[in-house]
Amino acid sequence: MVATRSFPAFGGLAVLAVADGRALTAAEEAVRGVVEEFDRACSRFRCDSELMAVNHGAGVPVSVGPTLLDATEAALAAASATNGVVDPTVGGALLSLGYDRDFEDVKARRPERPLPPIHARAIPGYRSVVLDRAAATVRLPPGASLDLGATAKALAADRAATRAHALSGAGVLVSLSGDIATAGPAPERGWVVRVADDHRAGPDAPGQTILISDGALASSSTTTRRWMAPGAEAHHLIDPSCGEPADGPWRTVSVAAASCLAANVASTAMIVGGHDRLAWLRNLGLPARLVDHGGEALHLNGWPEAGDDLSPGSGEAPAAGTPEAA
């Protein structure tokens, strides 16, 4: 009998589901441990986080623990695998656009008068990052800032699922703000997952209900984390080629892959890279659901079409937070 538990994590909602309800407590302890570990290592806003120290290193190697070492290496690998489309050195651009604190505080901030536009800083590029695994240090060029949002949460989901399964012995599904990883045997018919623009969306929000039995699933969306930046509305998925919020054809992309890290790398790459990345995604064979700004879903590489509220001809539905929904 599937049992679930949810709690706040990483500015969103963490959900744990176990195939055997008796394993819930042990699995939850494992997941909470991983969440705390990654928050302490990779938070861009905790003053005591290791990433905060790295981002203030001013060109000097900074000693870090194994979690941030792994997270940084994963981010660099993602950048390499996507030819720089998913780049962790976009932290400076986010700061310039006003995303310099927890997102709830960013949303709540009301400028007293319109602020002049600020041109996002040039992205130094992932090749400027020096990671020394032997010395356990990370060095950034002066003024550079890492944001691990495209990879760290997904990596944490993978680790949390693996650890929860190892500790509890049960099949588990872990979702960290919509980035989903599984480990161990799934329930007989699979894990039931709703795919939508927002991981906090209710069951009536436009989307699709699917079944997964193995692997992972991640979604990236331009509709959820939006705020008034100086000069224009911004969202958090930055195009490294210009330092501005990505302006591609997709509002939400969901990808299934063997790991949550890979799924999130691919979903982010599709938001940023747009149509230019379609051939790359097709070659990888990753099942994907891509929703354009008109609310129409495209299904690739075997992603099921049945039951999708946004399939062509099913009736368009604007996403919450977009101009069409106003």
Binding site: D179, V192, V195, P203, G215, A256, A258, A262, G302, A306
Partner: protein, 139 residues
């Protein structure tokens, strides 16, 4: 006493000028000598200890440092494209709305109905999708 030419400097100044010129020549000679010695020494070191480079990328790679430049191709197996998990899960996701308790059984029933319509069970409304355990979406 011979008159001193009007354009000749006094003897003390001339002496000083001569000394300064000699010093200048000596300094230039010293600079060239040092440069030559340095080049020779570098060649000797390169011959004795090949592979040691002063370029940052190669030296950091020799120490096990990972830079994401040309050395990015040599990322450890832990995070190669394959180990990142950049391949489809098995099995792939499937729709919940068309899946009864056993999707394959539903397919078999549909096939049997096509072969013998008289034996087909009356079609009913599709089963509603089960309640999801979780939602994947943006954050």
């Amino acid at each position: 006493m011979n008159p001193r030419p009007s354009d000749s400097p006094p003897d003390g100044v001339a002496q000083r000028d001569e000394v300064m010129a000699r010093l200048g020549r000596a300094r230039r000679g010293l600079i060239f000598a040092v440069a030559g010695l340095t080049a020779g020494f570098s060649g000797l070191v390169a011959a004795i200890a090949p592979g040691k480079s002063s370029t940052p990328q190669r030296s950091t790679a020799a120490r096990g440092v990972r830079t994401a430049g040309p050395v990015a191709a040599a990322l450890p197996a832990l995070y190669s494209a394959q180990s990142l998990g950049l391949h489809a899960p098995a099995p792939k996701p499937r729709a919940a709305s068309s899946s009864g308790p056993d999707a394959s059984a539903s397919s078999a029933a549909a096939g049997a109905a096509a072969r013998d319509p008289a034996a087909a069970a009356p079609a009913g409304p599709p089963a509603p999708p089960p309640a999801p355990a979780v939602t994947s979406g943006g954050s």
